[in-house]
């Protein structure tokens, strides 16, 4: 590994760090609740083997599937039990090697070599080889599978995948381009599966638990995988993932002891759960952002002054307080503050109604009317709060709710203003979700010549120091004339019975999905 990879080797066992999370200074504002809530009791005790760990997840109305590469709904969470990948996430949203023992790009990141550990096995006893690795990547990127997540690794050249030996493969990219953030993009949905894999008839992987039964929309039951690549883990004999349609019924189930862990608790319930002595609340100060996309392709947002005015009139503190119920931190219209390349020298944008008004006046938009399109659900809250704030600057925002299928339909890049959010990822990967030149989709239609060139250079630059320079400039462009209004980073709340150990807050969004780390005091 080149010296640029220091962030990768930064953490040992992330979960051992627990309450003493190392957070960027910019993250600390307002996350006192996180530190206060995370107790130390569970951390001191040693893992307990056996028992059944029951995890309650919210699946909304989706019943989901088990597909490693095209997970739907709760399928993403179930994938954490069933599948292992080349890498896994550290608690600070960097990556570390998992199935792979070696994974590095060449000097200009135009090729990656990945070698897995020897002697690894799938759930059904077949040993993992290079063919399985190739099969998994080919399956993820298969146009016939039509995985929505294929776009993230869209740069991979399917025809140039090569098997070097029984445990090693080489990945190259389309048109010889460079692609440095392969780990961060392949990690999420690049579960390694055997060549005889089938998501319905043969859903096997190399994850900590193997499937016993799956009833879509209700629950799934798993059994400990004895040959998991981490010796001694997982701890529980059985894992059960129970799906709930709404938060209220799940909170009731958690309090009644029908489940041990509630993954992703609503902030509204935090006080209630905290007050219950049988439960513990874990607040993970994640760097997932929430904000709005201002569509640069349409009036009035073509005008940079209007974009700036909107960013100035957002009372970020209030948005965090009301939209996130206080469980979050304000943001500076930039994503990935945990990334070592993040430009901390850009000053926090203030809340300045006066300047916003005068900018709007200059732009000739004193009496502006804008439609904000959102899907039903939590996004609506922030939209309503922002609409109320915009009124103070004389901007009338109409919040329109459309169905998820319409929102993400053919119109998806045409909404004038729409909420945007991306789970915690590094700068390069987050940009792929939002405003990078090759973004899977770009709701803000931000296309800037200089930014594009900087981004492309950063993709080809494995060296941290040199990449940092590029990203710093790219971020100041985003801050100055970008189309994203990022007002906050939200905490992820998990609640668990006090009998559950191995769960601790982290900077990612999936503290409670680390099924190989959690145990239950079943005695």
């Amino acid at each position: 590994m080149s010296e640029g990879f220091s962030r990768r080797t930064f953490l040992g066992n992330g979960l051992a760090v627990g309450g003493g999370l190392i957070l960027g200074s910019s993250l600390l504002s307002g996350c006192d609740s996180g530190a206060a809530v995370s107790g130390a009791a569970a951390l001191s005790s040693t893992p307990v083997q056996g028992g059944r760990l029951r995890v309650g997840i919210i699946d909304g109305d989706q019943s989901g599937n088990l597909d490693a590469h095209k997970p739907v709904g709760g399928g993403i969470i179930r994938g954490w039990a069933l599948y292992s990948k080349f890498w896994e996430w550290n608690t600070d949203v960097s990556t570390r090697l998992a199935l792979a023992e070696f994974a590095e790009p060449n000097a200009d990141a135009s090729a990656w070599i990945i070698r897995i550990k020897p002697g690894l096995e799938f759930h059904h006893g077949k040993s993992i080889g290079a063919d399985d690795m190739l099969f998994s990547i080919l399956r993820l990127t298969d146009p016939k599978l039509a995985s929505p997540f294929a776009g993230l690794v869209g740069a991979i050249d399917r025809n140039a995948l090569r098997k070097l030996d029984e445990r090693t493969i080489e990945i190259r990219f389309k048109e010889g381009q460079s692609f440095y953030p392969l780990d961060e993009t392949l990690i999420s949905f690049g579960g390694i599966v055997p060549t005889d894999y089938d998501p319905i008839s043969n859903p096997v992987g190399a994850g900590p638990y193997k499937l016993k039964s799956f009833i879509p929309g209700q629950r799934s039951l798993y059994q400990r995988f004895e040959n998991y690549y981490k010796p001694g883990q997982p701890y529980a004999d059985e894992l059960e993932i129970i799906e709930f349609k709404d938060q209220v019924s799940r909170a009731a189930a958690l309090r009644a002891g029908q489940i041990d862990v509630a993954s992703g608790v609503q902030a509204e319930h935090s006080a209630l759960l905290k007050a219950d002595s049988r439960l513990k609340l874990y607040a993970s100060p994640s760097t997932s952002f929430t904000g709005f996309n201002l569509n640069l392709a349409k009036a009035p947002f073509q005008d940079q002054r209007v974009r700036q005015a909107f960013r100035l009139l957002a009372d970020r503190r209030e948005l965090v307080d009301r939209g996130l119920n206080g469980f979050g931190r304000i943001a500076n219209d930039l994503y990935s503050p945990h990334d070592p390349t993040y430009n901390h020298s850009i000053a926090q944008r203030p809340y300045d109604l006066e300047q916003a008004r005068s900018l709007l006046r200059q732009a000739g938009q004193d009496d502006l009317r804008v439609e904000l399109t959102t899907t039903p659900g939590p996004g609506v809250n922030a939209a309503l709060v922002f609409a109320q704030q915009a009124k103070k600057a004389g901007v009338e925002i109409k919040v329109t709710q459309v169905d998820g299928s319409v929102f993400n339909g053919p119109q998806r890049e045409n909404w004038l203003m729409s909420p945007g959010s991306t789970p915690a990822r590094g700068f390069l990967a987050s940009a792929l979700h939002n405003d990078a030149p090759q973004a899977i989709y770009n709701r803000s239609n931000f296309h800037d010549e200089r930014f594009t060139s900087l981004y492309r250079q950063a993709l080809a630059q494995p060296d941290l120091a040199q990449r940092k320079v590029l990203v710093h400039e790219a971020q100041s462009i985003q801050h100055e004339r970008g189309g994203l209004l990022i007002w906050g980073f939200n905490d992820v709340l998990d609640a668990a019975s006090v009998r559950v150990g191995g769960l601790a807050p982290e900077q990612t969004t999936f503290a409670s999905w680390r099924f190989d780390e959690m145990w239950v005091n079943h005695a």
């Binding site: 989901g64 929505p148 879509p216 929309g217 209700q218 629950r219 009731a252 189930a253 899977i440 989709y441």
Partner: protein, 353 residues
Amino acid sequence: MPEPSCKTPRTPAWFSWFIGRLGYGLLTAWVISLVVFIATQALPSDPARVILGPDAPLESILTLQKQLGLDRPILEQYLRWLGHALSGELGVSLDSNAPVGSILFGRFGYTLALLAGVIAVVVPAALLLGVSLALRRDSRLDRWSLSLLIFLKATPGFLLAIGLVLLFSMPHIDVLPAVSILDPDKSLLRQLQFLVLPVLALSLSALPYLTRMVRASMIEALESDYVVAARLRGIPEWRIVWRHTLPNALIPAIQGVALTLRTLIGGALLAEVIFSYPGIGTSLNSAIQMRDLPMVQAIVLVITLGVVLINLFADLLTVLLTPKLRTARRVTMIRRNRRGIQPWWRRSPSKAP
């Protein structure tokens, strides 16, 4: 039971009436299936987009649309669906990729259990309450109970259910599980505690209608000539009530139960959602939200067939239990009786006085 005919032995009239009624019911179910299919296929959203989510590229969506057959004419899609449905093949859920039939089978059983539980609670309770209120007609108890029943009838059922959830998730009242997450590995009989609250919520909203129906028909029956005659003959009161009056008062209650069941299916949807009960109501709600068309169509078909069968069964029972109808010679006599009186302008002029 079939009345021996004077001339040639033939099937009783009610039987041919029943066959006609059955055909009528099936026709109804077919029309509904057609309407629902066309309406759902015409939904202004794209199931392929729903399945693949926000980040899907356009090619993936077009491929999936082709895989799902969404690019074909709607009638062709319907015929194919109907053909599959008739052979018991309900398609594959867009959402979970599992066969709809296998998902619905278990859930349908849970909903049936729920409805059976409600009927098992409501019918005896309504009979007991209805009869005792009829016997204490206009007493203070009667008036108070009626007010309470009106209150229960008026309160939207899902508010009752929310109230129960709220009550039973309080820290010290958690004797019953407020959430009905059934364990599919255990038999339902072992986890009856999960049924208690949903059954209670639904029973509370179904009880008023039936109770009042039993009460009204009991009062009517108690005032009828034959009861007066029986009283004059000195037959003991309890015998009059339980042996002579009640059976007659029960016949309208059969239709009442049928009607209750139909409204219960709608109410069960809300109750299932509130209690997270894994029945077909919750799956219909999520299928609608997810635009999971094969699921919606299959569930609607099942519900429609269910309602049609319930009505059919109730009508048959009514005919069989009403002596005049059971022994009717001609189908038209039954039909007329069930459809109301023949209007004046349709009678033949000779009959007019």
